[in-house]
Symmetry: C3
Amino acid sequence: MTQTTGDIGALLRRVQVMEDKWQILELIAAYGPAVDSGAADATAALWSEDGEYDVDSGMLRGRAELRAMVGGAPHQGFITNGSAHLIGLPHIEVDGDRAVAIGHSQLVLKVPGTTADFRVARITANRWELVKADGRWQVERRVARLLDGRPEARELLGGVGTGSERS
Amino acid sequence: MTQTTGDIGALLRRVQVMEDKWQILELIAAYGPAVDSGAADATAALWSEDGEYDVDSGMLRGRAELRAMVGGAPHQGFITNGSAHLIGLPHIEVDGDRAVAIGHSQLVLKVPGTTADFRVARITANRWELVKADGRWQVERRVARLLDGRPEARELLGGVGTGSERS
Amino acid sequence: MTQTTGDIGALLRRVQVMEDKWQILELIAAYGPAVDSGAADATAALWSEDGEYDVDSGMLRGRAELRAMVGGAPHQGFITNGSAHLIGLPHIEVDGDRAVAIGHSQLVLKVPGTTADFRVARITANRWELVKADGRWQVERRVARLLDGRPEARELLGGVGTGSERS
């Protein structure tokens, strides 16, 4: 192997890691628009077929339960009244075909019966466990806990920098 | 063409796409600081010369109207009283010299007459249509709609993943 | 030097700049989770040994003072009651081993004594001055000012696009 070929091999791996990060960033960035537009299929497709969304308000297992959540009365009530699922800047650590992203999210809702009064309904700690399969990143498990003082929400956020990659 | 030259050509295109994404991310990230600092020229320069900002509160056409918005009494009232135009993580799809970014934004204002009481004044759905000209990305059209339950705001957010690039 | 070697050298520099941006993005993305989980050491490690955090509520000089802030009664009161330090999308400009990131942040707190009533306690203008040492980016100085109408907060946000790199 020549020096040049070796250089290119190393460069290809560095480029691949950054492409992975972009795909993960966009996967996470797609969540808010998907749920707030009521796109049940697009939301479910962010997860793997049997992926989990473990949120304090209920455990969702697999794409069918994710679709049912988006189509269900509580969520439809939010979006037809006015809602924004804002996703904070995630901290992403990639380790081959697995990755962990940690960050905040925020749910802002219109106060029912008002024209344009909004309130912060939730601040949430998130841990996204992601896998790459067939060249595409998906959510294997998302754990989300309300930041209302409960220790487990703080513990979720404490996982930054404990993976194999250091940023 | 040798194998190595071919490899480099493919690699160059992958690197170029990521540079485009960074430039788009930074273009969008520049909006909030530009408007909240009252920088009329810097805000207008994010758009192309005849770019549009189609927001529910009014249609702005071209840089002169963008500059006028930033310099106008309502916006100056916001920023001298205390305001944050927070831009959510955008979902970006690049297709050559064109791109679409979709995401939320949030306007937080100080309640006039208070020292430090803040309220969420808006949650907004955004669709940014971007073009690259002379090596620089600019906003050709930004459509923004209040997330107060109106269907067209949800429809704007529903555009994720419908472009030519899939993430 | 052959054409190919020259190409690779230029490509390596472009890849390096993007790796730098990712590391800076992740450094900034790590701040919110670190403080909201109460991780005093992880928070302090984002700064250089004698780095500064110049915030309107007090000047912190060096890692020991940063650790003390996270461990102190006011901050512990926030996080055991429920808090989210949300970091907005930063605008990053890299110039070799130095960088400047400008953006908003937002502090949302649970209203004490309530189950899940949240309020926006702060909207803040941020300027992060970063340095790369031993291959790792760190915060040399972060200046943060409340967006309550004070001119100096707007001036902090006005620094976008004034560095050597244009996006």
